[in-house]
């Protein structure tokens, strides 16, 4: 086996490990919402993990900065919410969770995800 092939194998191995670590190894940024919370929509949701108290009416202010059409809609299925997010415009979504648990939310194409944890 030539040197370049060994190099490519090592590089590939490193590439796979890095990809795995980069995408799956990230820690979710958990933020507790007190009354309201601003969520930036840019290449995903920031913060993506929101903690809300049960029965507390909370306003989630979504602000889409990303022109990617994938993110133009936010979908919180457990609350029956599907909302269009105009670019650079604050879209308030008010929820009052009645049940404890983790409720996922995502973009309209189910490519970007976030979670609402009700405690």
């Amino acid at each position: 086996m030539t040197l370049d092939k060994i190099f490519v194998i090592l590089l590939g191995f490193f590439g796979v490990i890095t990809t795995y670590w980069f995408f799956f190894g990230k820690k979710e940024e958990k933020v507790e919402a007190k009354g309201s919370i601003d969520i930036k929509v840019e290449g995903g949701y920031s913060p993506s993990y929101i903690i809300i108290k049960k029965d507390a009416t909370t306003t989630l202010n979504f602000l889409r900065k990303d022109p990617n059409p994938c993110l133009e809609e936010v979908n919180i299925p457990d609350f029956g919410i599907k909302k269009f997010l105009p670019l650079n415009e604050n879209v308030p979504i008010v929820i009052t969770p009645k049940k404890k648990g983790e409720f996922p939310y995502s973009c309209g194409m189910n490519m970007y995800f976030g979670k609402i944890s009700v405690i």
């Binding site: 086996m1 092939k5 490519v8 194998i9 590089l11 590939g12 191995f13 590439g15 796979v16 990809t19 795995y20 980069f22 995408f23 799956f24 990230k26 840019e42 290449g43 995903g44 920031s46 993506s48 900065k65 990303d66 022109p67 990617n68 059409p69 994938c70 979908n75 919180i76 299925p77 457990d78 609350f79 029956g80 919410i81 599907k82 909302k83 269009f84 105009p86 670019l87 650079n88 415009e89 996922p104 995502s106 309209g108 194409m109 189910n110 490519m111 970007y112 995800f113």
Partner: protein, 761 residues
């Protein structure tokens, strides 16, 4: 002071901004107005007591534009934005595909022989490809970059890496051909690959976005049903006002052919109203004073005055819209698997692409680098996570929308999904299988009445037929009772009689009514009442009475001047659609049961008429026991679980509706029933139960086909792009073909969902 932002349609240049700002500032009470061309929005600060939406709309309309204010604004605004985006995307698609076509012509083996030599020049190709890569493809870079910042990856990431590799390599080959030559590789660029991929994927996005606009048609249709104005009578004056200014209690005049503006009650006049937009029922419904009317339904021929009882978000139409929107935003359980896969998909594809490169570089034929690069690009380009993401939600959107068109309101995607598995349906009897209103089913007058009448000394005019006279006596007396059975008799006799003077009408609780009508002594009531009044029963009518009793009918005996002369049989009657519904359900493998508080005999009589087997009748059930029985039934009574639907007619059935796998509420738009039920049928036609199940089955079939296609596509074509067929057949996937496949895959999923719109239910 209040600040309001709203979209404006029709803007095209900077001068529009000034015109609009001036027009809005001139409105009395407006403090400031700014208009933004890029966002096509106006921001106005004004005094609420002086300015309303209509003033602003009018000012904008005067200068030739349209202000999108009010409830419809948001959806219109979304459409306008989408259309603008689509226009820009369309230009990018055209330019990229045109340049892509030229580059393809100049690069494809054999075809390139016919291309002009200028096009074959690598430097010219570089000049042509660069704007496509970075202008048309800019959105991919932008999205990929912001995703990577959040350690996320999506389709754009794959497209960016794939096309950048092809473009970068080609640019390198063009600028430093000698280096590539030194490695023993023919220095051929692959600009066509990068450019055509961008063009085709943009084309896919363009078509997909256009198709997706169609999936939300149902809500748009519902919104457009709303009337724009109402003719109200205030202080004795009639005036047309915008619908959002109508308040509860307003008296509204509705003329022939007009839409009823809000929900209300008929005060004066009568008419037939086409309620098909709400109930799906095509036959117009007669409306008389006191009847309820629903906003957005169409008045046909008469004129009437109504009183507004519900306005704004309280109206039935607004509730329907809210419910459909909520359902469209919910998630079907079947989607969970697709979601899980989606969240891992792109990073896994990236890893597979790296592996592809390594394997081809190490084990592939020469030129190994080229094979490795092209196959890696093919893997990145062919993977299509979007098709998986779109498979379920698009079908749910079309399915729930189609339901609403038929008067079938589905609470959420989960209900729609479970409904296709229903094996057993329990019907509530009264009001669901039956009309819920007792009706006269049989009426008999004694056969030799002409003979008997001679002995009765009746005050009848010679020209009045005897039977009609007796019916008139009955009708006139029954008018003095509010008992449900009396109502059944009066509505049965309404057409056949005329009212006569009544004296001393007296109801005898639980037995009937007695009184003097046109000087005749009339007694109407039970057999017991006849015995009490010492009336000798007519044996011929008594025989009939026994037969009617066997059919579980209630009997009304009638005596005139001390003689038993007539007999009425009254029963709650089966709905016309019941028998057909039960047999349709049986055809699709669903067995029907009936639950009722009535005694066994009555229950069986109705079940026989409906075609429900006797062993499927659950009679003598107390209202509070219904829920328990439904729950036990669902568990299968030890014979295995069933997917059970309960069909009931409203509030008192709420616990049973909630307890069933699928609760179907009939013919009611009340909040309580909607809340408890999974599916609400806006009309009282039982066949809608079958339609709802068919809709569920068809939607699920579409979803399954979509998922099968989306999964199958990726599972089969990613390995093909990696080159698994190469050792056996020497087959490799050209990256251009990969982009074509990728572009068609998500379009086909959306198109398949749209086909549901045409499905016959």
């Amino acid at each position: 002071m209040k600040t309001k932002s709203f979209a404006i349609s029709g803007m095209h240049c900077a001068s529009c901004v000034r015109v609009l700002e001036r027009a809005l500032s001139k409105v009395a009470g407006v403090d400031s107005a700014t208009v933004n061309l890029a966002t096509e929005k106006a921001h106005v600060t004004y005094d609420e007591s002086q300015v309303n939406d209509d003033n602003l709309k009018e000012a904008v309309a005067k200068v030739g534009y349209k202000a999108l204010l009010g409830e419809n604004g948001h959806s219109d605004e979304k459409d306008i934005r989408k259309k603008k985006e689509l226009k820009e995307l369309g230009i990018k698609v055209l330019v990229s595909l045109a340049i892509g076509g030229l580059l393809f012509w100049a690069s494809f083996p054999t075809l390139m022989e016919t291309a002009p030599s200028l096009l074959k020049d690598s430097l010219i190709q570089l000049l042509l490809a660069t704007p496509i890569q970075f202008w048309a493809g800019f959105s991919f870079y932008q999205a990929a970059f912001s995703s990577l910042k959040n350690r996320n990856a999506n389709m754009d990431t794959l497209v960016v890496i794939g096309t950048t590799v092809a473009f970068g390599y080609s640019a390198f080959v063009t600028l430093y051909p000698e280096i590539i030559q030194g490695l023993g590789i023919d220095p051929l660029p692959y600009f066509d690959t990068a450019v055509v991929i961008i063009g085709l994927i943009l084309l896919g996005r363009f078509l997909e976005a256009k198709a997706k606009l169609g999936t939300s048609d149902a809500i748009k249709k519902l919104l457009s049903l709303q009337a724009k104005t109402a003719r109200v009578v205030r202080d004795g004056k009639e005036m047309d006002i915008p619908i959002n200014q109508v308040i509860v209690g307003d008296q509204i005049l509705v003329r022939p052919g007009e839409k009823i503006p809000v929900d209300g009650k008929v005060l004066k006049g009568e008419s037939a109203v086409d309620e098909s937009m709400v109930t799906g029922e095509s036959i117009p419904v007669e409306k008389y004073p006191g009847d309820l009317v629903v906003g957005a339904t169409i008045n046909s021929t008469g004129t009437f005055t109504m009183q507004a009882t519900k306005v704004g978000s309280e109206t039935v139409l607004s509730q329907i819209i809210a419910l459909v929107e909520k359902a469209q935003g919910s998630k079907a359980p079947i989607q969970r698997l697709a979601d899980t896969i989606s969240s891992y998909f792109v990073p896994v594809v990236l890893m597979l692409a790296i592996a592809t490169f390594v394997v081809w570089y190490v084990f592939g034929p020469t030129p190994a680098f080229l094979f490795a690069m092209l196959n890696t690009v093919a893997v990145l380009i062919i993977a299509c996570p979007c098709a998986m993401g779109l498979a379920t939600p698009t079908a749910i959107m079309v399915g729930t929308g189609k339901g609403a068109e038929h008067g079938i309101l589905i609470k959420d995607a989960e209900s729609l999904e479970i409904a296709h598995k229903i094996t057993t349906i329990v019907f509530d009897k009264t009001g669901t299988l039956t009309l819920g209103k007792p009706k006269v089913t049989d009426s008999s007058v004694m056969e030799n009445i002409d003979e008997v009448a001679k002995t009765l000394t009746l005050h009848i005019t010679p020209q009045t037929p005897l039977e009609q006279y007796i019916f008139s006596l009955i009708f006139s007396l029954e008018k003095h009772s509010e008992h449900a059975l009396s109502t059944a008799i009066t509505s049965y006799l309404q057409e056949k009689t005329k009212e006569l003077p009544v004296e001393g009408a007296r109801a005898i609780a639980g037995l009937g009514i007695v009184g003097t009508v046109n000087h005749e002594k009339v007694i109407i009531g039970t057999k017991k009442l006849m015995e009490k009044e010492k009336i000798i029963l007519c044996s011929e009518l008594e025989k009939k009475a026994q037969l009617f009793a066997q059919e579980a009918k209630t009997l009304a005996y009638i005596a005139v001047n001390g003689k038993h002369v007539a007999l009425f049989a009254i029963a709650d009657t089966l709905k016309d659609s019941a028998r057909e519904t039960i047999s349709e359900l049986l055809k699709i493998g669903i067995s029907s049961y009936m639950i009722t508080g009535d005694n066994k005999q009555t229950a069986k009589a109705i079940a026989d008429q409906a075609g429900i087997p006797n062993e499927n009748v659950i009679a003598e059930v107390l209202p509070q026991e219904k829920e328990k029985i439904v729950r036990e039934f669902k568990e299968g009574n030890g014979k295995g679980r069933k997917t059970l639907a309960f069909v009931g007619d409203g509030i008192n059935d709420a616990p049973a509706l909630a307890s069933a796998n699928v609760g179907i509420a009939m013919g009611t738009g009340t909040d309580v029933a909607i809340e408890a039920a999974n599916i609400t049928l806006m009309n009282k036609d039982l066949r809608s139960v079958v339609t709802a199940i068919r809709l569920s089955k068809k939607t699920m079939r579409t979803i399954k086909l979509n998922l099968f296609w989306a999964f199958g596509y990726n599972v089969i074509l990613i390995p093909v792009a990696m080159g698994v067929l190469y050792p056996f057949f020497g087959l490799l996937l050209n990256p251009i073909l990969a982009s074509l496949a990728m572009a068609t895959s998500s379009i086909s999923v959306v198109t398949n969902s749209l086909l549901l719109k045409r499905a016959k239910l």
